[in-house]
Amino acid sequence: MKEETSNHSRRKFLKSFGISVGAAGVVSSFSLIGAAKAAAKKPAEMVNLLTQDGQLVQVDKNQLRPTVTEPLDELQKRGREGIPGKSFVMVIDLSKCRNARKCMDACQNHHQLRQDQHHINVLQMQDAEHTAPYFMPKPCQHCDNPPCTKVCPVDATFKRQDGIVLIDNERCIGCRFCIAACPYSARIFQWTEPKDAEKYKDLTYNIEANVPQKKGTVSKCLFSADRLREDKLPSCVSACPNGVYYFGDQNEDAVTNGTTGETVRFSKLIEDNAGYTLMEELGTKPRVYYLPPKNRAFEFNGDLLNEENLH
């Protein structure tokens, strides 16, 4: 799997966002002007978009809204089924992580999360008093024996055929049993109205990205299941500048590095580098593998948190 940069994917990008150009000329040009005006008032992050007639326009990122073309029923159905024939795995190379936190930003952007809400969290770890500290990105482990889905009373969180553990916010009753059950603290709860709730309130719910988020329900890492359907890598994997993440299909025995785009054999990668899974003694059988933080490419420059937090 490779990050696509072709014209095709750009068109797809255009199609998948709320600014459609061309056919709906009047309306869309009006909204573009509106966007330009908003941008003039307050300089914001601009995005270059290529219209279908070849013009390059700049649009304020805040004016973009993801649109979902499929109806809710279809999204829910395919979201629960998963992608046939796939068995997704992630490999995290701890020797490379230098706490850039681009993964966390990209994830929060994608899943409409606040700064303190983490589907993926980069932790500062120190296993014992005299061992070297290291950074450890921690997404949902997408366990093959998931303690969280077992306890769900309404089948709102479930594991699908491609190995991904999802959460259905249309069904979640907010009992938070799954949060209590997860030994990796991978789940969060929408205690209040989610970020930009007003902005996204008309958006059709997409279970594979768990957006828009809903108050009173649980949220979690989904391996960016919506992006996987478009043959893209998960947001965190693509965003990493340091080559920490590999992602791919265990059935193909191939994982692709999100930074370099290099594809390697999954089994060889974990075999050669003594790959392991987190807290394997719990029997959860994670789908996220870690490569140990040996020969780190940098000095540990984080503030090592005080000892009482490191447990």
Binding site: D116, V151, C152, V154, C175, A180, W191, H311
Partner: protein, 446 residues
């Protein structure tokens, strides 16, 4: 307890029993005021729940790490107290222990009130209470929550039956005697008494039914608190990941329930002037029972804390150190000492088993039991396997918010209201059973 005064019993007649027990139901001055007070509390705290409903659970002190807090601790406490119904009227009833006759109905009233509100507390804790029916529509029977819903509703039903069925003869008396009752109440007595006139056949059928229910409620009662403990024991968390949680919770429930019953006995004895019925004998026996269940609970506590404390496994060590001499030490030791060990030491002494001293001791036991649930639920959530990082300061601690405390007060007020209303409309001491146990002839007119 042969030294206790028993001479008064000889002066009791069926008419006097009827009068003594029925009189306070209609002529208690403070009762209406107390009900108005409780309804006011419920209304004010109901407003707090409305804010929670509107703004989300963010108005509580709970956050992503401590995602179960005061509500769940309180839920466990309510379930625990409700188990007294099974202990008194079933286990002791089946053993044909006669001193429970005057207090068995109070035990059932406590059971019904606490288990009904326990079910409600769970809904108050939900992020999406509007979706509560999903539990029926999409229910997954693999989840301990489904087991809990099942056993709680079953326990509530059977407990309500165990309250009403043995009361049928008394209700027939109420129908005749309570002439001042409102038409609605008269209708209620008429319906619930089912035309009972104490014929031998009716008597036989009724008692057969009651005994069947008594047998039935033993496994249900065990299940309700065992399943509640599994909500915790089914996870992989430090402090919850233990195999003795079921019996440990059941033992603790007997402690909390017995204490609650003693407190209720004292208040009914004093307020309803039932000194001739809820006698010093009942307090003495309940004191001994409390010592017995406290000892069993102490034994489970030794197992629960000493064994992992001896090994100090990674994960357990931080949790246990926090309990033994860390941030949770005061609450932990207070619940162990004031709620269990000191009451045992005091209550083996018969002068502490008099009504007032044992009621005061029971207040400590009950408060200790409540804080014990708090210590079971919250510290574990603060000690996950992986470090808590990159979150705001208020994620790392847990203090219940004013809203959360108000909603908890609401649940307590609701329990007290149910107990009060039930004790106003139903005789709290069984009239017919009391007379029968004293060999007094019972006559119920059609």
């Amino acid at each position: 307890m042969n030294d206790l005064p028993k001479q008064k019993e000889t002066t009791l007649s069926f008419e006097k029993i009827k009068k003594d027990i029925l009189h306070p139901m209609q002529n208690h001055k403070g009762l209406e005021l107390w009900i108005v007070f409780l309804i006011t509390v419920i209304s004010v705290c109901g407003w707090a729940y409305y804010i929670q409903l509107k703004d989300g659970l963010g108005v509580t002190g709970m956050r992503d790490y401590v995602s179960w807090g005061l509500y769940i601790a309180n839920f466990v406490f309510f379930v625990a107290v409700s188990l007294v119904g099974m202990l008194i009227s079933s286990i002791l009833g089946l053993l044909r222990i006669d001193w429970i006759t005057p207090i068995s109905r109070i035990a059932e009233i406590i059971a019904v009130a606490f288990v009904a509100v326990a079910g409600l507390v769970i809904v108050l804790d939900m992020g999406r209470p509007d979706r509560v029916l999903n539990v029926m529509i999409h229910g997954r029977f693999q989840s301990p929550i489904l087991w809990d819903v099942t056993v709680i509703t079953t326990y509530l039903t059977v407990s309500a039956l165990l309250l009403i069925l043995p009361m049928i003869p008394d209700l027939a008396i109420c129908k005749k005697e309570l002439t001042k009752a409102s038409p609605i109440m008269k209708k209620l007595y008429n319906i619930l008494s089912l035309g009972y006139i104490n014929t031998p056949a009716q008597h036989k059928h009724l008692h057969r039914m009651i005994r069947t229910l008594m047998v039935l409620i033993v496994p249900i009662g065990l299940a309700i608190h065992t399943v509640t403990s599994w909500l915790f024991a089914a996870t992989l968390r430090n402090g919850w990941d233990t195999t003795i949680f079921g019996p440990y919770f059941v033992a603790g429930a007997f402690v909390a329930g017995s204490a609650a019953l003693i407190i209720a006995m004292y208040f009914f004895r004093v307020n309803y002037k039932l000194q001739d019925y809820i006698t010093e004998l009942q307090f003495d026996k309940m004191g001994k029972l409390l010592v017995a269940v406290c000892l069993v609970y102490l034994y489970f506590n030794l197992n629960e804390f000493l064994v992992p404390g001896y090994k100090m496994k990674t994960g357990d060590d931080i949790h246990l150190k926090e309990l033994f001499y860390g941030n949770w030490a005061i609450m932990f030791w207070a619940s162990q000492l004031l709620g269990n060990i000191i009451p045992i030491i005091l209550l083996v002494n018969n002068k502490f088993r008099k009504p007032l001293p044992i009621m005061i001791i029971s207040l400590f036991v009950l408060a200790g039991a409540w804080f014990k649930r708090y210590v079971i639920v919250i510290p574990t959530m603060l000690h996950p396997h992986l470090p808590i990082q990159n979150v705001p300061e208020n994620f790392v601690h847990y203090y219940p918010s004013a809203i959360e405390i108000s909603v908890t007060v609401l649940s307590f007020a609701l329990v007290l209201l149910i107990i009060t209303v039930l004790s106003k409309i139903f005789p709290v001491v069984p009239i017919v059973e009391t007379a029968e146990s004293k060999g007094i002839e019972v006559k119920i007119d059609a």
